[in-house]
């Protein structure tokens, strides 16, 4: 049977609905009918399906996330992400309530979890028509503080109390930075492309510049514009949810701050998250978290952010090149890499004085 684009597998949409309905019936203890199943297009990594579950007259809205055959963050393991999302219930961090996980291949062929579908839309980190990004000035003003507070709340989660040490606790001092650098270096090596000079230079600088941190927190790993559920009203905006926790880990909280405010997620604007000036966003986070924004750590994680994105893109390019996926969205990274190398050149001072 041909692969179905809508369901991303050999299963037809009808089969997918039937299997999901059987799964939910078992979990909820009453008959469930699955309706309006739709494959979401935003995510480039895991396969994401939204659907309605009909229980008698009641309609519940859910999202199922499933491991892809190949993708940007391979090798995949959904279980740690599920355990964190499940364990965050009631923590006040705007994570979607996530009740169920299954790795039984008879259900959806590959491991998946089901979470509640939160309201709101996902503004994309792409340039608007007039270079204004996805938000109006009033939305930007309303949102910036909420985002900074949401990030501070996430970093305030008591991960020991919630049992998240299964994520692996970095060793003290430079351990967090060292582990993240090793993680992305390993992915670059696994992609198997020779490192070009600008990447070799950046990796060398990162190895020499590992910063110390005295605190280890829960780190989302992909907290940025494009993973926020927002209610936009033109004259205001409300942050309703934070999505895509697949890179969650324990580490330096400033890693999230640098990722969120770096050039990758500015939507064609000069502003962090297309909201406010990066330095103002850092101040807002410092106020919300009570944490100093150390420039040395931020400089390290800003360069690491670009290297991490390069590693992700190289992984996708390798999967496409080797024929493990025919998803052309992986191929487009081949002509996006030059933007990232230009960012590295800028960050490492190669473009100054030329």
């Amino acid at each position: 049977m041909a692969r179905c684009l809508h369901c991303g597998s050999g299963m037809t949409p009808l089969e997918l609905e039937t299997h999901l309905a059987r799964f939910l019936t078992g979990r909820l203890g009453e008959p469930v009918e699955v309706r309006r199943l739709e494959r979401n297009t935003e995510g480039f990594s895991q396969e994401t399906f939204s659907f309605d579950a009909q229980l008698g007259r009641e309609t519940r809205r859910y999202v199922a996330k499933r491991e892809p055959v190949a993708g940007l963050l391979e090798p995949y393991d959904l279980e740690p992400e599920f355990r964190v999302l499940h364990g965050l219930a009631g923590a006040g961090v705007l994570s979607p309530p996530t009740p169920w996980f299954s790795d039984d291949p008879r259900v959806l062929e590959r491991p998946f979890y089901v979470m509640e579908r939160l309201p709101g839309e996902v503004p994309l980190p792409t340039a608007g028509a007039a270079g204004t990004g996805p938000f109006t000035p009033a939305e930007r003003e309303a949102l910036a503080g909420q985002v900074a507070e949401a990030l501070a709340r996430l970093h305030a989660v008591d991960w020991r109390k919630r049992g998240f040490d299964f994520l692996g606790v970095p060793s003290p001092r430079r351990g967090a930075a060292e582990r993240e650098l090793a993680r992305w270096e390993e992915r670059i090596a696994r992609a198997g492309f020779p490192a070009p000079p600008l990447l070799a230079d950046a990796l060398g600088w990162l190895r020499r510049s590992l910063p110390e941190t005295g605190e280890i927190t829960l780190v989302h790993g992909d907290f940025r514009l494009g993973n926020w559920l927002v209610d936009q009203r033109g004259d205001a905006a409300t942050l309703l949810g934070v999505l895509d926790w697949e890179m969650v880990h324990l580490g330096d909280p400033l890693e999230d701050l640098a990722w969120c405010s770096c050039e990758l997620w500015r939507g064609g604007t000069p502003w962090a998250g297309a909201m406010i000036a990066p330095e103002d966003f850092h101040l807002a986070y410092a106020r919300a978290s009570g944490r100093a924004v150390d420039p040395e750590r931020m400089a390290f994680y800003r360069v690491l952010a670009v290297v991490k994105m390069i590693a992700i893109m190289l992984t996708g390019i390798r999967a496409f090149r080797d024929g493990r996926t025919s998803d052309l969205r992986m191929a487009i990274f081949d002509h996006q890499l030059p933007f990232l190398f230009a960012l590295l050149a800028l960050a490492r001072g190669w473009l100054t004085g030329v």
Binding site: A2, T126, A127, P197, A200, G204, I317, S326, A342, V354
Partner: protein, 152 residues
């Protein structure tokens, strides 16, 4: 580019044939899609990557390697300078893509060989090439359709 043109075209053929065509109900539009498939299929083996960008990169990278070798010789590291000159001499004369790749790798190795970081004269030797090459790589790129790809 890391993906060969033939693989990109194969990906386009697969997407159109396996994913787009089954969703197209109009016979007229299906006919047009088949025409695109026919064109791409026949184009596949007649296309080769433009030589000029690789030739420009290779020339610029060779110049950077020579400058770096001179900086290392001046910095009392003749062994390293000799290794760079050997790498330059060992780079294939062609095709241009292979020569550019060899010289790119030699530059990356030369940078990685200094875990303590490049000395200022070494950075100066590489600066013009790295800056110009990053801008040359950007120049041919078209505006991104990422928003449309994401929204569907």
């Amino acid at each position: 580019m890391l993906i060969p043109i033939e693989r990109l075209i194969d990906g386009c053929l697969h997407t159109l044939r396996e994913e787009v065509l089954p969703e197209v109900a109009s016979r007229a539009v299906r006919g047009r899609v088949w025409a695109v498939l026919d064109v791409l299929h026949n184009l596949r083996d007649r296309i080769e990557e433009s030589r000029a960008p690789a030739e420009t990169e290779a020339e610029s990278a060779a110049d950077a390697l020579r400058r770096l070798a001179a900086a290392r010789r001046d910095g009392a590291d003749p062994e390293s300078a000799a290794r760079l000159e050997q790498a330059l001499a060992a780079a294939p004369e062609g095709p241009p893509g292979a020569r550019a790749a060899a010289l790119r790798a030699a530059l990356a190795d030369a940078i990685a060989a200094r875990p303590e970081g490049l000395a200022p004269p070494e950075r100066d030797a590489l600066r013009a090439h790295l800056a110009a090459q990053s801008l040359r790589d950007l120049a041919p790129l078209k505006p991104s359709l990422l928003a449309e790809i994401s929204k569907g």
